[in-house]
Symmetry: C2
Subunit: 344 residues, 2 copies
C-alpha cells in the first residue's frame, strides 16, 4: 500500500505535510511517496529531525506549486510540473494506491476529474466529509463540489455516500436522508421534489435505505448516517455547523474565564474540555474523499497540521484497501435516470 | 397599542399563550386582544391565578382551531371561525395593531398573504428570524417561506431585512451579506450569480450596504447584520445552527456529568451555564416577523412558553410602533427588477 502525498499543498506545506506523512509511515506502516520540490521536502524532514529517508518513504520531484490564486479549472493543466498534477498523474498510472492533498479544492477536483477520471456512468464527482453528529458521525454528500445539481446527481450522491458509509462507518444498511426543510414528502424546492421518488424507488428495490427528508437539526441529532444534498446547500449545512461550533466554543471560553470561581471550574474540567474540543476539530477526521473518481483522492483541509495529514493518509489507506470503487461499479446501472440529462 | 394574540395556536395553547399575553399586558403596558374559545381562555386565566379580565385585556370568541394536520394553504379559509382566521381578519380591519400566533407556520403565512395582503409591489412575504451570532444578532431572510426563489425575490428580501435590521438591531447601515459557498463573486449556483449584480447595484446607489457573499461560518462569526437567502437554504442554515447548538449542549452536559470532579465544576459554573443556554434559547427572541405583509404579523415558535409569548408581544409592539412598513413602501420602486418575473 503506497499513498502519494502532495507535499506542497496547504497553508502549512511542506513542513506539516512531510511531518504528518512520515508519522503515518511510522505508525500505520504504509509506504509514502512525497511529491514536490525535493530540496524543500528534505529541509522539512530535517526540521522534523529525520536525517535519512525512512524505509518506505520516497520523493518524486515536482518543481511547481498550485497556489490558491491560480484558476481552479485550469491550474492542473497550466502547471504541468506542479506537485498536484504530478501526484494525480502518478495515481492514474498506478504508481501509488491513493492521493492526499491539502491544496486548492477546486484544482484538485478538476485535476481528479480530468486526469484520473470519473467512474464510468458517474455524472459528477462529489465531496463527502464526515460530520460530527450526536452519537457518532454521518457522511454528507455533496458539500460543495457541485453548486448546481440535477435529480440524477443527487440520486448518485445517495448511492456513492451510502456505499462509502458502509465502508467507513461500518454500518451495514446506512440510513440515507435527503436534506430538506421539513420531513413531509411534499416539502422543499423542485429539485428535492424530483429526487424524492427516485430515492424511494431505490429504497423499494432494497438498494439504499432511504428514510425520507431530514432537516438540519435532526441531521445533527444523528437521524441519518448519510445526508444527501446539492453542493450549495450541503456547503451551507457544513459551514453553518462549523460556525455554530466556533461561536459556542468562544462563548464557552468566555464562560470559563468569567471569574476566579469559573477559572477553578476550568481547571477541574481540563481533560473534559480537551475531549469536547476534539468533537469539532477537523484535524481529527483527516480529510474529505472525492467520491465518484475511479481512484481514491482525499482532500485534506487547507490548514491541516501534521496530525490531520497523518489521519488523511490513514483514511486514504482505508479507502484504497476497501472494495468501494468496485461496489460503485457494480451498482452503476441503478444510478441512472431514464431520461438522460447529459453525457456522462 | 393593541396586540391581537391567537390564544389557541401552538403546543402549549391556550395555557402558556394566555399567561404570556397577560404578562406582556402587565409588564409592557400594551393592550391585548385574545382570540379563541372564550371558555378555554377564561380557564387558562384561572390557572394563571387571574380571576378577572385585567384592564386592557379583551377576549374575542372564535370557536375553531387550526391544527398542524390541516392543509396549510387552505386551513384559514376552511376554518373561517378559527382563532387564526378571526385574528388576521381583526388585524386587517384595524381592530388591533399587530398579530401574534404560535400556530401553523404555513397556515399563518397563507392567511397573512391572502387576508391581510402583501405590501403593494412585494412579490413574496418572507420570514426573518433573528439569529444569534458572535458579538450580537443578525437577521436571516428568508428562512423557509419560499423554497423556490427568483433573483427579484432575493433582492426584495435584502431590502426588507435591511430596513427591518435598522429598526430592530439599531444599526444605521446594516451589513447585508448573500449566503453563499465562497466569498468570491463568481461563487454559487445560478440564483446567487444572478442576484449578486442586483445587490451590487443597490449598494452603488447607496440604498443597501451590500458586503458581498458570506459563508455559513463567517455569518455565525458576525460578519453581517443581514443574511440574505432563499427559503430553502436559509432554513438549512437556521436548522443546522440549531442542531449544532443542541449537539454541543448535550455534549457539554455529558462533560459536566462525567465525574465527581466535573460535577463540582458544574456547581461553580451554575450561573454561567444558565447564561450560556440563553444564547441559543428561541424563547428569548420571541418570534419571527413576516416581512412584506402590510401589517405586523409575528410567528411565535410552536413550542413557545409564556416567556416566549411575552417576548413575541414585545416584538410585535416594537414592529407596530416603528415606521417599518412606510419605509418599505418608500423603497418599493427600487426593489423591482426590470424584466417582470411574474405578477405581484
Amino acid at each position: 500500500m503506497k499513498i502519494i502525498v502532495d507535499a506542497m499543498g496547504g497553508d502549512n506545506a511542506p513542513g506539516a505535510i512531510v511531518e504528518g506523512a512520515l508519522q503515518a509511515n511510522r505508525e500505520l506502516g504504509v509506504d509514502i511517496l512525497l511529491v514536490g520540490r525535493t530540496e524543500a521536502i528534505l529541509k522539512a524532514m530535517e526540521a522534523a529531525d529525520v536525517k535519512e529517508l525512512p524505509s518506505g518513504v520516497e520523493i518524486h520531484n515536482a518543481t511547481e506549486v498550485i497556489e490558491i490564486e491560480d484558476d481552479a479549472a485550469t491550474a492542473f493543466k497550466k502547471k504541468k510540473d506542479s506537485s498536484m498534477t504530478v501526484g494525480l498523474t502518478l495515481l492514474r498510472d498506478g504508481v501509488g494506491d491513493a492521493f492526499v492533498s491539502a491544496g486548492s479544492t477546486g484544482a484538485l477536483l478538476s485535476g481528479s476529474t480530468l486526469l484520473v477520471k470519473r467512474i464510468r456512468g458517474i455524472r459528477r464527482a462529489a465531496m463527502a466529509p464526515t460530520a460530527p453528529v450526536f452519537g457518532g458521525r454521518a457522511i454528507l454528500c455533496d458539500c460543495g463540489a457541485n453548486a448546481e445539481c440535477t435529480p440524477e446527481y443527487l440520486l448518485q450522491f445517495a448511492y456513492l455516500a451510502s456505499l462509502y458509509a458502509q465502508k467507513t462507518l461500518g454500518v451495514a444498511s446506512p440510513r440515507v436522508g435527503l436534506l430538506n426543510i421539513g420531513s413531509e414528502r411534499e416539502k422543499g424546492d423542485s429539485l428535492r421534489l424530483a429526487v424524492y421518488p427516485l430515492l424511494e424507488e431505490a429504497h423499494a428495490a432494497g438498494r439504499i435505505n432511504f428514510i425520507g427528508n431530514i432537516e438540519g437539526n435532526t441531521a445533527m441529532m444523528g437521524a441519518a448516517d448519510v445526508i444527501v444534498a446539492d453542493g450549495y446547500s450541503g456547503n451551507i449545512f457544513l459551514k453553518s455547523v462549523e460556525g455554530a461550533g466556533k461561536l459556542m466554543a468562544k462563548e464557552m471560553k468566555n464562560m470559563f474565564m468569567h471569574s476566579a470561581k469559573t477559572k477553578v471550574a476550568a481547571l477541574l474540567m481540563k481533560e473534559r474540555i480537551a475531549e469536547f474540543k476534539k468533537i469539532l476539530d477537523p484535524n481529527e477526521v483527516g480529510g474529505v474523499p472525492f467520491l465518484g473518481i475511479c481512484k481514491p483522492v482525499i482532500k485534506a483541509h487547507g490548514s491541516s497540521n501534521a496530525w490531520a495529514i497523518r489521519n488523511a493518509v490513514r483514511q486514504a489507506r482505508d479507502f484504497a484497501q476497501s472494495t468501494y470503487i468496485e461496489d460503485v461499479q457494480a451498482n452503476i446501472e441503478f444510478m441512472k435516470v431514464s431520461v438522460p440529462a447529459e453525457n456522462a
